[in-house]
Subunit: 234 residues, 2 copies
DNA sequence: ATATGTGAAAAGTTTCACAGCC
DNA sequence: GGCTGTGAAACTTTTCACATAT
């Protein structure tokens, strides 16, 4: 795992009957979801290089996976391939985007305009995947009013009103550890449904419908250090 | 799971006999390693708040895990607790640091001084966990020579000589996707043993002793979008 | 001939439950 | 009483292997 991030379990959706043609997901593991995003990334790269078809074995090799796993992951969501042929890159791309929800645009706010927040706000990859930055906030009066790319840094006081007026879905939390929980609570109350948390704390998810994905850069380096020390390769 | 970065498998070390008092690791999953880093983070926070002891049940609740899992993870590396009492925060902290390899300092170079590279270079969390930034590189002549915190951005041409003279162990790759593989190869040849890869590509790990941990910010947002759409909470 | 989709087996991970020690 | 460490059970995920389709 990269996992892994804090593991996090199965979906357990198991809601019984599938409805007519919506690809209602069966139980899908978080690991599968992560791999779906990687398949999408590879498909987009293959598309740029002019390819139109791919086989599970080729995808598997590119990502260092077993080909059966690629097919099993995809089969959680439907039948996208053609036997004897493989998968059409354009249609599989669209299918995975629909599965991940990136076939529509998401409005995102960035909280924290420190080093990390400013860098992430400028990161091209977000826009490319249909995430639109609708605002960036900081509590430091010195930063408020500063222009950053197409946006002006706003006061944290404006958070709730912007979340409402811009119909914000998701937030990226790039604030210090000690303010993360409080900001997360405000975000939840304001109606944000998902947080990508870069603060090195476990954001208490109070109960209802708030989903948190954690990315702790120090944790990633520690994973790397461990892996280096305990080398897999002889 | 929040899963996960490209999963990455078990260690499978199973090298037979354990040697005398080195805590030679038994097979340990990547998920366990990630949780070890989270335990360390919590221990450090508890220490700052003056605590000296902790129980597996308390740690589990803080991280949203099962208490048995906490004990099982720790028991992969030794017996750190006292029955009836719990774990000493200072000694468990030291033990986990030794396990993760952060009881000694690691020399790290940053490749890429774009938005993300500059932000990561300024990130406090790295130094706090014993990762020392020994250099930052970019191929853009306009950036070379620019001062960034305590460091001056250097030309990519100097990469190999700095890796050698500064005894660099790890690299953080924050370059565009199209140059990532080439830079990774140079790093490996130069003697770097681990890469934390922020470029949105699978870095081909040519064969020998190079460990790569991937962090793709777009993938993380896609995981979040999926989780929001497929809400677990009723 | 080639490659998907999927039951069934294998492998891995988490949780239970309790013996053992404080 | 309280809490760890760990066998064994339960559960999840991956891989195999092959029927099925082009």
């Amino acid at each position: 795992m990269a996992l892994e991030q804090p593991t996090g379990k199965n979906d357990g959706q198991g809601s019984g009957r599938r409805n007519q043609n919506v690809p209602t997901p069966p139980p899908v593991s978080a690991a599968t979801v992560t791999r779906m995003a990687l398949y999408l990334r590879e498909l987009q790269q293959l598309h740029r290089s002019g390819q139109v078809r791919i086989q599970s074995s080729v995808m598997a090799k590119r990502l260092g996976l077993n080909d059966s796993q690629v097919r099993r992951d995809l089969s959680c969501f439907g039948q996208f391939g053609q036997r004897g042929i493989g998968y059409s890159i354009p249609s599989l791309t669209k299918a995975i985007q629909a599965i991940l929800g990136t076939d529509r645009s998401w409005n995102v706010v960035m909280i924290g305009a420190g080093n990390l927040g400013r860098a992430l706000a400028g990161y091209r990859g977000f826009n490319q995947q249909n995430f639109r930055l609708a605002g960036i906030f900081d509590s430091d009066p010195e930063k408020v009013g500063t222009v950053l790319g197409a946006l002006t840094i706003r006061s944290l006081q404006d958070l709730e009103s912007v979340v409402e007026s811009e119909k914000v879905d998701l937030a990226i939390l790039a604030v210090p550890a000690n303010s993360a929980t409080l900001v997360a609570q405000r975000l939840e109350v304001a109606g944000v449904t998902g947080i990508l948390n870069f603060a090195p704390v476990t954001v208490r998810t109070p109960g209802s419908g708030l989903t948190v994905v954690d990315v702790d850069l120090a944790v990633e380096l520690q994973r790397l250090a461990f892996a280096v020390i305990n080398q897999k390769n002889s």
